[in-house]
């Protein structure tokens, strides 16, 4: 069973501040971490591999050379192989160009059974890359998975959606995006950490290695344009109406009318 887990290295948003002048992230001195939900995705893959009685978990990341450490950490958790997609041509990618590059990389890996992504990355919160990747690959997808099981060559996925649980069965290959409620990621052992650097295969692939047309990746392949980022002004205090209910309702209705809401 081959399971592919795309992961992203992100700034630890607990430590990120926004420059009030320019409205951009101050990344300096902010530690990089593996996107939290991606760790859950790797855990899900490792458990599934055990359940399947064997196989391989391959972690893939598109990012700068420094993202190697994020992949090494996932190897330390137990992933079998890591591939870093790194090339200047990938820079400036939006979610579509990212998913496109990942899809080309996945095709290079041959026959696979499952792709597990984290639901979303904490530095963008779009939750788009997983679904887009499934579309590029033309495979079924189940997002927001809180549980995943292998059942007779198919997977059974519990999706947490809007306070309900939806149970889906998907044929393989498929793509799943996973929630942090799904599991508790294991902490790498000492031997895991050492093996991640000394034993496990780690490769760097550039754009030509994954045979992707250059106009589909990086800034060129990105239809999304960020016009402006800003911190919304803090909301004003609400008004609390007290006293006689009848009077209060009247004031409420009148205010809503004045504001053109009613």
């Amino acid at each position: 069973m081959l399971i592919i887990v795309p992961i992203k290295q992100v700034p630890d948003t607990n430590d990120v501040r926004i420059d009030p002048e320019t409205g951009t992230l101050i990344r300096e001195g902010v530690p990089s971490i593996v996107n939290p939900e991606d760790r859950h995705a790797v855990e899900m893959a490792l458990v599934l591999k055990d359940q399947a009685g064997g196989g391989k978990v391959v972690v893939v990341s598109m990012g700068p050379p420094q993202a190697e450490i994020a992949l090494r950490e996932m190897l330390a958790m137990g992933a079998d192989e890591a591939i870093l997609l790194s090339d200047r041509a990938f820079a400036g990618a939006d979610t579509l160009a990212t998913a496109c590059a990942l899809a080309h990389a996945v095709r290079q890996l041959g026959q696979y059974d499952l792709i597990i992504c984290g639901r979303q990355a904490i530095d963008g919160d779009t939750a788009q890359v997983g679904p887009q990747l499934a579309e590029f690959l033309q495979i079924p997808q189940a997002t927001y998975a809180q549980d995943l099981r292998l059942e007779g060559g198919k997977i059974r996925v519990e999706r947490a959606v809007e306070g309900e649980v939806q149970v889906l069965e998907l044929p393989l290959p498929a793509l799943v995006t996973c929630l942090k409620e799904a599991n508790k990621p294991r902490i790498p052992t000492l031997k895991g950490c050492i093996g991640a650097f000394r034993e496990k295969p780690f490769q760097v692939w550039n754009a030509s290695r994954i045979k992707v047309p250059l106009e589909q990746i990086g800034l060129k392949g990105s239809p999304t344009q960020v016009r402006r980022t800003f911190t919304p002004p803090p909301r004003g205090q609400g008004i609390v109406l007290t006293g006689d209910p009848q009077q209060a309702v009247q004031t409420l209705v009148q205010t809503l009318r004045e504001k053109g809401i009613m």
Binding site: I69, R72, I187, P188, T189, L190, K191, I194, A196, R198
Partner: protein, 381 residues
């Protein structure tokens, strides 16, 4: 070349150990201390992470890590719970080290592999009622019984003594030859004539088990000797040299815990209308504490580096141990001071750090003994 950077591998190890220590060990520390309880469950969890066989070669199931990496693991664990730091460091530097360095192939297979996996725990027994700082004055004897060694005597203050599955012990095979008559053996728990005596009631590291070992005509296999008869004192001293590097790391861990608690408290607590950190008297204490920790780390890492590069490190290890142990007491003392009366109360962790730090100045050679060691090197006597 001087390089103060850890390798990416060491950084990852440090980070993952810190995560494990914060998540699994730290939440249990206060309760185990209060109950004076050695937790087998926690020890097994620590073993599963590979922390009991850090320096054990991979062919015997260990991680095969170097001394500098070992220091990272010990420091992070000691920060969460000093007692677990003790269990780990003794398993590595006092038990695994002499076996992997002086044991026969058969002995290494038999003891290192289960030690690294956590299936078996070990202990190291040198101290006796009349052989403390003067550890050469061994009264425990091992006599040649033909196809076995017969051990008689007792050992006190042995960490892990009451919970270990086997003990590395030093005993005299030839009393007349004094130091040159000492030898090192391995004794399995359950061997007839080997019993556990008193379990000590302690000031600190209360979650570490400290007990007495008693040997009465205890017969052990002839092959359970490390190296040759007469090599025991050399083995013990070599073992303690490595252990002292680890004590430097334990000191950094305990002191960092104390520093962080004090720093946090000083930011929160207000008196005279300001947070304590805003008083120069408190800020300077914190600055000194940080300086003290950093100094110990440099000494410790240097000693580890020398060891890893196969250079003489005994003097440097003694310096790291001596400076670090007195430093940890000093830093924990100031952490209580910064907490005021609250620091004296068990609702805050700093009183535990203070009690725990105190052992570092005593075991693996007291501060006085470290000064003797350092003096002998620097004065060439």
């Amino acid at each position: 070349m001087i390089d103060f950077k850890l390798s990416p591998e060491q950084e990852l190890i440090r980070k993952t150990v810190a995560e494990f220590a914060a998540e699994v060990i730290a939440p249990m520390a206060a309760e185990l201390d209060e109950k004076q309880e050695f937790s087998m469950e926690l020890t097994r969890a620590i073993a599963r992470q590979g922390y009991l066989g850090i320096i054990v070669p991979p062919e015997y199931g260990g991680a095969g890590a170097c001394a500098l990496t070992y220091c990272q693991v010990i420091e992070e664990v000691s920060k969460a719970c000093a007692a677990q730091g003790v269990t780990m460091s003794l398993s590595n530097s006092l038990v695994a080290y002499p076996i992997m360095t002086y044991g026969s192939e058969e002995i290494k297979r038999r003891y290192l592999t289960p030690l690294a996996s956590g299936e078996k725990l070990g202990c190291f027994a040198l101290t006796e009622p009349n052989a403390g700082s003067d550890s050469s004055n061994q009264e425990t004897t091992a006599t040649d019984g033909g196809d076995c060694w017969i051990i008689n005597g007792s050992k006190i203050f042995i960490s892990n003594g009451g919970v270990a599955d086997f003990a590395v012990i030093i005993a005299s095979t030839n009393r007349a030859a004094k130091i040159r008559g000492l030898s090192a053996f391995i004794v399995d728990k359950g061997t007839p004539g080997f019993t556990i005596g008193v379990k000590e009631n302690k000031l600190g590291i209360r979650a570490s088990n400290t007990a007495e070992l008693v040997f009465q005509n205890c017969r052990i296999p002839k092959g359970n000797i490390l190296a040759a008869p007469g090599r025991g004192f050399r083995i013990a001293m070599d073992t303690l040299d490595g252990g002292r590097v680890g004590v430097g790391a334990q000191a950094c861990g305990i002191a960092r815990a104390a520093y962080e608690a004090a720093h946090k408290y000083a930011k929160e607590r207000k008196q005279f209308g300001s947070a304590l950190v805003d008083f120069q008297g408190i800020a300077h204490k914190l600055a000194d504490m940080k300086l003290d920790i950093e100094t110990t780390r440099l000494l410790t890492w240097k000693a580890a580096w020398l060891k890893d590069n196969k250079k003489r490190f005994a003097k440097d290890a003694a310096m790291a141990k001596l400076y670090g142990s007195e430093m940890a007491t000093r830093v924990a003392h100031q952490a209580i001071q910064i907490h005021g009366g609250y620091g004296f109360i068990k609702d805050y962790p700093v009183e535990r750090y203070y009690r725990d730090a105190r052992i570092l100045e005593l075991y693996e050679g007291t501060s006085e003994v470290q000064r003797m060691v350092i003096a002998s090197y620097v004065l060439g006597v």
